[in-house]
């Protein structure tokens, strides 16, 4: 009766752009603003062509003032609009941290529930492109610390395509982290808006011996590691967090309850990180299921180096993930 949905090959960049175009077309309250999103087409060419299509009222270039334009976005959201604010990278979002934490995340509480902030902020994160220590850090874990925010990390083309719509539907502020190394990655996904949730983690590859938990830019690294582990007769289950706040504890605990071992791969620094939080939750909720110490593979605790070989050495790599998984499994796969 229904034909199979047409399948289109899309890059991550095209998937985000398609999601933006849908949102702008379907709801007059939606507009995009940020540095170079209009005439330049976006620093990562995500919004290329949107200015021509939707006009300067809805695709707005802003001054280089993160605090100013994120604040303007919060104001517009309070006034009934559905703004999408693009910040070039998470490193620069720190200039807007006051607006994000003290206003966007807090106003619902401070107003006794009267003022919600339906704002979406998109930004790139992550290293791997030799952009050095001021453009390469993964600070999304810091935002995952803040009550009042929902923090998303689409790691697949389908999530890049599908997460924006539910984020705009959310009555409260949602941050979307797009890993910079993903924009040129392509995949075939059903042509159209597949509804995705913004609440749960996803098992990207089922396995029985060890749960490898990751998100965003390191998901593909982990999937490569899982392939290598399979060659070594270790069956790894790969979990994509997708949502960094609130964390989907149930999926994590369920997986570890089956595999009894966990490796967490996080491009953020290890100390005080999302990986530390996940470790703590697994120990709190699945202590008696653990058959080995929890392993973590994180970025080296240094400012991200510029030199290519040093940058690669500082990041979680497939071989370090394989090694961690083998340590966890020991001789007991």
């Amino acid at each position: 009766m229904t034909a199979a949905p047409a399948v289109a090959e899309l890059t991550y960049r095209e998937a985000v752009r398609a999601a933006l175009r849908d949102a702008l077309s379907q709801d007059d309250r939606v507009f995009l603003m940020g540095e170079d999103v209009g005439r330049y087409g976006g620093c990562f060419a995500v919004s290329m062509g949107l200015l021509e299509e939707f006009g300067p009222e809805r695709i707005r270039d802003t001054p280089l003032s993160e605090s100013g334009f994120v604040g303007a976005g919060i104001g517009a959201a309070l006034a009934g609009m559905r703004p999408i604010v693009e910040i070039m990278t998470v490193n620069f979002s720190l200039l807007a941290l006051d607006q994000i934490l003290n206003n966007a995340a807090t106003l619902l509480h401070m107003s006794g529930g009267q003022l919600n902030v339906p704002l979406v902020i998109r930004m790139t994160t992550g290293a791997g492109r030799q952009l050095a220590a001021q453009h390469s850090h993964s600070l999304e874990g810091w935002y995952a610390h803040i009550p009042g925010l929902r923090v998303l990390a689409p790691a697949t083309i389908a999530d890049a395509r599908g997460m924006l719509a539910p984020a705009l539907d959310d009555p409260d502020p949602v941050l979307i982290f797009e890993h910079g190394s993903l924009y040129n990655v392509s995949d075939s996904i059903p042509d159209g808006t597949e509804a995705v949730d913004i609440a749960s983690a996803a098992v990207r590859r089922p396995g029985t011996d060890v749960s490898i938990i990751t998100y965003g830019g390191t998901l593909r690294t982990v999937l490569r590691a899982a392939d290598e582990l399979e060659r070594q007769h270790v069956s790894a289950e790969v979990i994509d967090l997708r949502v960094l706040r609130p964390l989907d504890d149930a999926t994590l605990v369920d997986s570890v309850t089956r595999t009894h071992r966990a490796v967490i791969v996080d491009e953020g620094w290890r100390s005080g990180s999302l990986s530390a939080e996940i470790t703590a939750r697994l120990v709190e909720q699945a202590f008696y299921e653990l058959d080995a110490p929890i392993e973590r593979v994180c970025a080296a605790e240094v400012p991200m180096p510029y030199a290519r070989h040093l940058e690669q050495a500082a990041l979680p790599r497939a071989d370090s993930v394989v090694a961690a998984a083998l340590r966890a499994v020991g001789g007991h796969a």
Binding site: H260, F287, Y288, E289, L290, D291, G330, H332
Partner: protein
């Protein structure tokens, strides 16, 4: 050649199941060493050896149920056997280690660091002279520990490195982690090692391969049922055979409580005395003075006991009771008595009683004061001939020298066997208890 026999761990016990040997043939054993675990209907009990010598042969296999008195193992007796064995390969100081090694104490309070260090060095924490308050073993105490002896049963549970899952699986399957042995190079027992052991396969470590898997301990629900049945049979026998008579007396505890208050100000918190300790002490002294109530009814006659072996009823949290025994109570100070009673109650509730805790009592005390009752009219534990009960210490109006005052008062009760004594004897016991409690400083 002496034999190590299935002990009687209570008058209601006719047979026991050997759960586990903690020694092997050829191991030297010492009086007081825990050598086996025996399952009665009520609990798994660690059974101590009463001989010094060398285990010659183990006659009963784990899982076998044998009657009380059946030989479990033969032991080559004598210091010679021990010395010959110990001066052989063992270093000299091990032979010099005290033969009367202290039996492992109750729950040990130590830090994880101390437990790990002790495990690494193979030390028995119970044998380490503790310098900390309340018997806490500190790191600095470890060098003072006696060197580990071969065959000596140390605190093995402390020394096993195992994953949380492995511990959970082993506990559920009734396996001892120490006997499973790590299968991996990392020296840690993992879930796979436990599963192998549960499946009856030898573990990867060859020296452990021969270790038989232990029969599972009785499951808690089955244990509850068996305990109910054992208590029922004994109490039924008591009410059928023993013509009970009952006496009660209200005792003014003003002097005792004042003394206790004063005494507790001098004692560290962990050694503070409870009124129950004074009540036990007074009962023990009184029983020594009224020997007609302290002993056993055997073969149609009364056999007095030379010492006061006081059974104390401990109610278990999951239901049921155990009656561990405080040995030779009349010759112990109140502080010692308090420590002994506290230790027994804790170990009874933790399921860590030893065979010596369950030697036959000569008199039993039931204190239901904490439960708020006025008095206890007990059922005698055969073959004993009396049971003393205590209710709650309550403030009551009390006439003294023609004046009405408010005093802490407890109702002391006696259930006694009319075959062995008459009411006047029973009254004398209660009267002695009362008198002793008026002069607590003499207890």
């Amino acid at each position: 050649m002496p034999e190590f026999r299935m002990p009687s761990l209570g008058a209601d016990m006719t047979a026991g199941t050997l759960l586990e040997w903690l020694v092997h043939e050829g191991d030297p054993v010492h009086r007081g060493d825990v050598v086996a675990v025996v399952d009665t209907d009520k609990a798994a009990i660690e059974v101590e050896c009463f001989e010094d010598g060398v285990v010659d042969r183990l006659l009963v296999q784990p899982g076998q149920k044998v009657p009380v008195g059946a030989a479990l193992a033969s032991i080559r007796a004598g210091e010679g056997a021990v010395a010959a064995l110990e001066t052989g390969p063992a270093p000299l100081e091990t032979a010099a280690a005290p033969l009367e090694a202290p039996a492992p104490a109750g729950p040990l309070v130590t830090s994880p660091l101390v437990r790990r260090l002790a495990a690494e060095r193979g030390l028995d924490l119970a044998a380490v002279p503790a310098t900390g308050t309340g018997g806490v073993v500190h790191r600095r105490d470890l060098p003072q520990a006696p060197a580990p002896r071969t065959g000596r049963v140390a605190h093995r549970r402390e020394s096993v490195r195992a994953s949380p899952l492995a511990r959970r699986l082993a506990a559920a399957g009734g396996l001892d982690l120490a006997e499973i042995g790590p299968g991996a190079k990392d020296g840690t027992v993992h879930a796979a090692d436990v599963r192998r052991a549960l499946a009856g396969h030898p573990t990867a470590e060859p020296t452990r391969a021969a270790a038989p898997t232990r029969p599972a301990r009785t499951a808690p629900a089955a244990r509850g049922e068996a305990m109910r049945r054992a208590i029922g049979e004994l109490m039924e026998r008591s009410n059928r055979e023993i013509p009970h008579y009952y006496l009660t007396q209200s005792v003014d505890l003003a002097a005792a409580m004042a003394w206790l208050h004063q005494r507790n100000r001098e004692l560290p918190v962990t050694q503070r005395l409870l009124p129950a300790a004074l009540l036990l002490a007074a009962t023990a002294q009184a029983a020594a003075q009224v020997p007609q109530l302290n002993g056993h009814w055997r073969d149609g006659g009364f056999a007095p006991s030379s010492t006061v072996e006081l059974g104390t009823v401990v109610s278990l949290r999951g239901g049921g009771i155990l009656v561990p025994v405080v040995h030779d109570v009349a010759n112990r100070s109140v502080v010692e008595l308090m420590a002994a009673a506290r230790d027994l109650a804790e170990r009874a509730r933790a399921g860590r009683l030893r065979s010596s805790d369950l030697r036959p009592a000569s008199l039993t005390v039931s204190n239901l004061g904490e439960q708020g009752v006025d008095s206890v009219l007990g059922v005698i534990h055969p073959p004993q001939v009396a049971m003393v009960g205590f209710g709650t210490v309550q403030e009551r109006p009390w006439a003294v020298d023609g004046l009405l005052g408010v005093r802490p008062v407890v109702v002391v009760s006696l259930a006694a066997d009319h075959r062995a004594s008459d009411g006047a004897v029973g009254a004398r016991l209660l009267h002695r208890i009362d008198r002793l409690l008026q002069r607590p400083e003499e207890l």
